[in-house]
Amino acid sequence: MFIKVKLPSNVMIPAEAMDPNGLMIQRAVLIRLLDAFASKKATKDLGYFIALKNLEEIGEGRIRETTGEIIFPVVFSGITFKMFKGEIVHGVVRQVHKSGVFLRCGPCENVYLSQYKMPGYDYIVEGNPLFMNQNMSRIQIGSTVRFIVLDIQWKEAEKEFIALASLEGNNLGPF
């Protein structure tokens, strides 16, 4: 699910970047915010950081005495992506293994659909490895699949989520 978030933050502008009249503050703040935003891939609470929408507020700048930089408290709005347990969502198969497949959902590449959670589907190799059921419905690389999110885990080191998917339920599967 894509979510619109509103977040407080602090942006530091070096004194040299400030022009004598203190104009262009908004632009300088926005540029630094964009940089910071782009480098922040994801957080556990908000999910993946997709895009910055607006600079909603800029507070009064404070001088940081040791470095001469000026700190502006800001509030910005942005879009993040997060999967929720129990959410039904679409994904694309990117890898097929004997034990299951990996799906891509939004910016997350690590959604695992185990063969135990694909009722009725068996692993076969038809030129390419794939899963197929009695109705000849196929799950293979590039297939679009509707699945339910069983669980999500945050990996702090990689700043990534991994998720567990399932097709157990009505109206789930490839489409």
Binding site: A51, I88, G106, D151, N171
Partner: protein
């Protein structure tokens, strides 16, 4: 034996999922207050936003793909692929129609993304429609889906 090992590996990595025990559960709208109150965006809305940003980048850079993060690029690919409605007016109409039906932001976006064709499908995709004491009748759901089907997908 392989099956047992595989199951055990899954159980260790995802204990709550494999045991059937749930805290968070989007199907029952148990997703944390801050998300229940947050504004969610449908894939088609995100697609318009990200495409616009990409166009802005194209105006100032020769190689816009190099300027965007992997997260942005994959998200753009994803929402373009999974948006039923491309035209901004259509997207607005979809949100407007769904907004008339006492849905939470989360439910609204799941419906707008998954595009169920029948009331039965809609309830399968958003089980909370029938719980949470709001009792959306099948007729009300059918009417909503009918209104949605009238929105022009391609312009």
């Amino acid at each position: 034996k392989e099956r047992r090992e595989e199951k055990e590996k899954l159980r260790i990595r995802f204990p709550s999922a494999m045991s059937g025990e749930e805290e968070e559960n989007a199907a029952e709208l148990k997703i944390g207050d801050e998300f229940l109150k947050a504004k969610c965006l449908m894939n088609c809305e995100v697609s318009l936003i990200l495409e616009h940003k990409y166009e802005q980048l194209q105006q100032v850079s020769e190689d816009p793909m190099n300027q965007v993060s992997q997260v942005f690029e994959k998200s753009l690919q994803y929402v373009k692929r999974f948006s039923r409605y491309k035209n901004p007016d259509a997207v607005r109409q979809v949100r407007e129609i769904l907004s008339r039906h006492q849905l939470t932001e989360f439910e609204l976006c799941v419906l707008g993304n998954l595009c169920p064709e029948t009331a039965e499908e809609a309830v399968a995709m958003v089980p909370s429609l029938k719980t949470k004491g709001r009792a959306h009748s099948d007729e009300a759901i059918e009417k909503m889906l009918n209104d949605l089907s009238l929105v022009k997908r391609f312009e």
